[in-house]
């Protein structure tokens, strides 16, 4: 019996004995769950159990299942019965639901979100029928929210480490590289470089190095890029928190494939939960001989170290990341040499994103052909996105590549809230582009996004509605990229600064029409002559907003007007004479006493005093406060 078969048997037994006669109460404790108050739910559940001896159940924490707008989530799984998911719940509701289900056998169906199984309860939809999940395709998130990320047996019982076992026991390293190449998996960290190609180059270089210098302490490294610095992105975090072993398994397979002997996970220090879970997972994997010396009884040895990053966006760039691990300031270096030629400590190194590595075990256990059934011809598989902004359902989603933006925004996202109009979708994080309504039918794949002037990036997807000012959006993203520029190269350090100054001027109503020429000159120059991806992509928000929303820039400059009513210097607050009932609420709330009037009299705003803080509009119960004459 091979070591793996024994480990699998152990895991299956563990899991079934844990579940056979005991119910499981699972609480979503990803960062989103915690932020929504998950810990209070956990406490409430534990207290309820302590007070009711007749409830026999284990309380466990699971990672994020993706439906963040319904957190905190409470799942109940009773042996022999389908798993029910409730959310969002309060501590009080938790107590009530648990007592009803376990003691009174009453299922609070109205509160239930979905049943994580077939249609056992006709009045509750199955989770993959609810609109948020129905169009999704879960490969990367296969385990997130389902397994206990702190138990290796849960992962193994769900086919975990089966890919590693196949690779190590049945395949040569070359065959593993080929399988990855055949799958057509492209890097999920942003650039979309085929993982198999990167591995081939590294494997060749490691081989040559071994031949030419037989006495080196190590010949190759695998680095997992878990820096995830894009503001608002949490795809990688959810995977690390909800399924840490999948990434570790991917790294070990990568190490075997290219002939590396060491791995590093570079995880941002702002992800404490991910770090804790990774540490635990690494220990568990070592204990089960899945990591360390002679893995699964073979000659292959490989270990992984965790390195915490100190929170610079640019440290996600691969050469900076290497400098940072080496103890230097994270500043990009020109390539070539590429890391696969000369990387960490000058040794051939592959750097792959969390999600890239998370796909590897599936490719190895199911085979490249099955994995590659999903996706388009050039963009295979699925991709996770952090869907945020002005959309009904926000959260972590995973879709087959090739799905249209429209489907993501309207089917999964449930459309734009408050009956507002869709205006733009920003893909690819702070250096991605803003795509307008006309591009809604664009398919989400690497080529189509690039063609439209944006990028896939690592999976940020921000939806904006009509109340968003596109000039202000460009300014906002430039503020980020300028602040995070490492300062090394001229076009990025100074070019983004000058663009930011121009954009700020325009939003302050001080723009000149020549400013648009300067932006149009600067943006391509910065793109074409910056050293690293940060500078090269920083102009994207400017380029795309100029391309798709030029009239908005012109309105700011030529008409002194912000069409979205956002730019403070360009808007005026007035009170509608018809709708104002003279209730004095706004008058009292105004912090600078800009409003005059008396009870039952129409109020008036003195625009010279008004600081456009928006307080009056927010407090008015009669929608009588207007911006530029419009109700926003």
């Amino acid at each position: 019996m091979s070591n793996y078969v024994a480990i699998r048997k152990w895991a299956d037994e563990e899991v079934s004995s844990q579940r056979a006669d005991k119910a499981r109460i699972a609480i979503g404790l990803g960062t989103c769950g915690i932020a929504a108050g998950g810990n209070a739910i956990l406490e409430a559940a534990e207290r309820t159990l302590a007070n009711n001896e007749e409830i026999k159940a284990d309380v466990v924490s699971v990672g994020c299942i993706g439906i963040c707008y319904k957190e905190p989530l409470l799942d109940i799984e009773i042996p022999g019965q389908p798993r029910l998911s409730y959310g969002p719940v309060t501590p009080g509701e938790t107590k009530k639901i648990l007592e009803n289900v376990f003691i009174h056998n009453i299922y609070e169906h109205k509160k239930a979100l979905a049943v994580i199984d077939d249609d056992a309860f006709s009045e509750i939809p199955s989770w993959n029928e609810i609109p948020f999940f129905a169009p999704q395709e879960r490969t990367v998130l296969r385990n997130c929210g389902f397994i206990d990320p702190e138990k290796i047996e849960d992962y193994i019982a769900n086919d975990g480490y089966a890919g590693l076992s196949r690779a190590l026991l049945d395949m040569t390293p070359e065959a593993v590289v080929k399988e990855t190449l055949d799958a057509g998996l492209r890097g999920r960290g942003g650039a979309g470089f085929p993982a198999g190609r990167k591995w081939t180059i590294a494997a060749d270089n490691i081989h040559t190095l071994r031949e030419s210098q037989p006495d080196l302490p190590s010949y190759g490294y695998v680095i997992c890029n878990a820096d995830e610095g894009d503001p608002g992105a949490f795809m990688n975090r959810s995977v690390l928190e909800g399924d840490p072993h999948s990434v570790i398994e991917g790294m070990i397979i990568a190490g075997y494939a290219i002939g590396a002997d060491y791995g590093y996970i570079y995880c941002r220090a702002e992800y404490p939960l991910a770090i804790d879970r990774l540490k635990l997972a690494l220990e568990q994997a070592r204990e089960k001989n899945l990591l360390g010396e002679n893995i699964l009884g073979t000659d292959f040895s490989f270990d992984i170290k965790l390195k915490e990053g100190a929170g610079a966006f640019v440290c996600g760039e691969e050469t900076s990341l290497i400098a940072s691990i080496e103890g230097d300031r994270g500043m990009p270096m020109p390539r070539p040499p590429y890391p696969a030629q000369s990387g960490l400590w000058g040794i051939p190194t592959i750097i792959n994103n969390v999600e890239t590595l998370n796909n590897i075990p599936v490719i190895l256990s199911k085979g490249a052909a099955i994995w590659a059934e999903k996706g388009t011809e050039k963009s295979k598989g699925t991709k996770t996105f952090a869907l945020t902004g002005k959309v009904e359902n926000t959260g972590l989603i995973e879709v087959e590549l090739g799905m249209s933006l429209r489907q993501v925004i309207y089917d999964i996202g449930g459309g734009i809230p408050d009956g507002k109009e869709f205006k733009a979708a920003q893909t690819g994080g702070p250096s991605g582009g803003c795509l307008p309504k006309e591009q809604l039918d664009l398919t989400i794949d690497y080529e189509a996004l690039a063609e439209a002037g944006s990028i896939m990036g690592s999976g940020g997807l921000v939806i904006m509605d009509e109340s968003t000012c596109m000039v202000d959006v460009a300014r906002y993203f430039l503020t980020f990229t300028q602040f995070e520029s490492c300062g090394k190269c001229v076009p990025c350090r100074l070019g983004t600064k000058r663009m930011l100054e121009i954009l700020t001027r325009i939003t302050e109503g001080k723009g000149k029409i020549e400013d648009l020429d300067a932006l149009e000159e600067l943006a391509p120059s910065i793109r074409d002559s910056s050293l690293c991806g940060l500078g090269q992509s920083a102009p994207n928000p400017v380029l795309t907003t100029l391309k798709y929303f030029r009239s908005e820039y012109e309105a700011h400059i030529l008409d002194g007007r912000c069409p979205a009513g956002q730019c403070k210097a360009l808007i005026t607050y007035t009170i509608d004479k018809v709708d104002c009932v003279g209730c004095v609420v706004c008058l009292r709330a105004c912090p600078v006493d800009a409003i005059t009037g008396a009870k039952k009299e129409i109020h008036i705003i003195d625009t010279d005093i008004c600081t456009r803080c928006d307080t009056c509009r927010q407090v008015c119960k009669f929608d009588a406060v207007l911006i530029d004459g419009n109700l926003l």
Partner: protein, 367 residues
């Protein structure tokens, strides 16, 4: 070593493997503007002025960092290159004080030269905030005026790669990026050894010798060897009106490739100091042939008097001979100096062992 052949602007050139495109261009005598490259430092790729076009390469690779390859076709000028280069130069100048006449680096500033080469004309289309810092004059020998700094990183790399001190590095991010000593303290509080290599490499007026504040450009330069120790570093002594106004390392000297220690670079003021002893001094009583036991030390006999080399040497020689004859050769010891050349040390050895007849000889480097 394996050679590779490439073409730069229609010129074929053969260079050793491992050369960069910039190395090859220099060998072919094709000028490519650079501000952050130095042949003595590792490629860095910061200024983005050395961009070129290479067949089969995407975008605009930088010549300084791209390895030359066999059969490569390189173009150093095109509309695309010129536009981007001009933008980078205009951006650099948009954050640089523009009063060259009052700048210490006037006429020896690479930024000035390269800007002239690129040909930026008329009003700079990019105007905005300029960085402004307090002058750091804490170091005894050089000042740091970071308003002038273009962040080429040469000083940082010189300190790390050549001097091995790592006294300075990049600090902060974005527009606020600056070269700093640890914790942004004044440079004097860092572990800077004042070798001055950063000053030597700085392409602008951001780092300059304090002595440059007093004098303008030198009118003469003399190649010489450093007198301080036996290494024999090559120096270039800068002079004006018959006075030394500065010293820098001689890059063409294979011993030090332009590098010096603090003494060689900054310890030259003694040369023209009024207190400097330029002729031999001898106690008066020796000139008068008196004995030490016969004189009163409070009298003028004990005072120093100028004399000629011949007289001083004669008196020294005869006294040494007399001591040897009356007390034996081993009553005399010789101590030589690291400031002497090998040849001089050899001769001292001869003098001790053969002329005087003692083995009592040692060298300051052993003490």
């Amino acid at each position: 070593m394996k050679k590779i052949t490439l073409t730069i602007d229609h010129k074929k050139i053969e260079v050793p493997e491992g050369s960069t495109v910039l190395d090859a261009a220099r060998a072919a005598e094709v000028y490519i503007p650079t501000l952050c490259d130095d042949p003595l430092l590792e490629p860095f790729g910061a200024c983005r002025l050395c961009i070129v076009e290479i067949d089969g390469y995407r975008g605009l690779p930088t010549a300084c960092s791209t390895p030359a390859a066999d059969g490569m076709q390189v173009r150093t000028s095109s509309a695309m290159i010129e536009t981007n280069r001009k933008t980078s130069m205009n951006l650099l100048l948009s954050d640089h004080p523009l009063d060259c006449q009052h700048c210490v680096a006037n006429m020896r500033c690479d930024l000035q030269y390269v800007a002239a080469y690129v040909g930026v004309r008329g009003d700079n289309p990019y105007q905005g905030e300029k960085r402004s810092y307090e002058l750091d004059d804490s170091n005894a020998f050089y000042n740091r005026d970071l308003d002038m700094c273009i962040l080429c990183g040469k000083c940082v790399r010189a300190c790390d790669e050549i001097q091995g001190r790592q006294a300075i590095s990049f600090g902060y991010r974005g527009f606020s990026t600056k070269i700093t000593a640890p914790f942004d303290l004044p440079i004097w509080e860092s572990n800077c050894e004042s070798c001055g290599r950063c000053v030597d490499m700085c392409p602008t007026g951001a780092l300059f010798d304090k002595s440059q504040l007093k004098h303008g450009l030198p009118t003469g330069e003399t190649k010489t060897t450093c007198p301080y120790c036996g290494v024999g570093c090559g120096l270039i002594v800068e002079t004006k009106n018959g006075e030394i106004i500065g010293v820098r390392g001689d890059r063409e000297n294979s011993v030090n490739e332009g590098h010096t220690c603090v003494k060689g670079r900054y310890g030259w003021e003694y040369v023209q100091h009024p207190d400097r002893v330029k002729k031999p001094l001898i106690r008066k009583y020796l000139l008068e042939g008196k004995k030490k036991s016969e004189i009163d030390k409070s009298s003028s006999d004990w005072e120093w008097a100028e004399t000629s080399w011949d007289t001083a040497l004669d008196i020294t020689a005869s006294n040494l001979a007399q001591i040897r004859d009356s007390h034996g050769a081993d009553s005399i010891g010789f101590l030589t100096s690291a400031k002497c050349l090998n040849e001089e040390n050899y001769l001292m050895n001869k003098l001790a062992r053969q002329v005087i007849g003692t083995n009592n000889i040692d060298h300051c480097a052993r003490l």
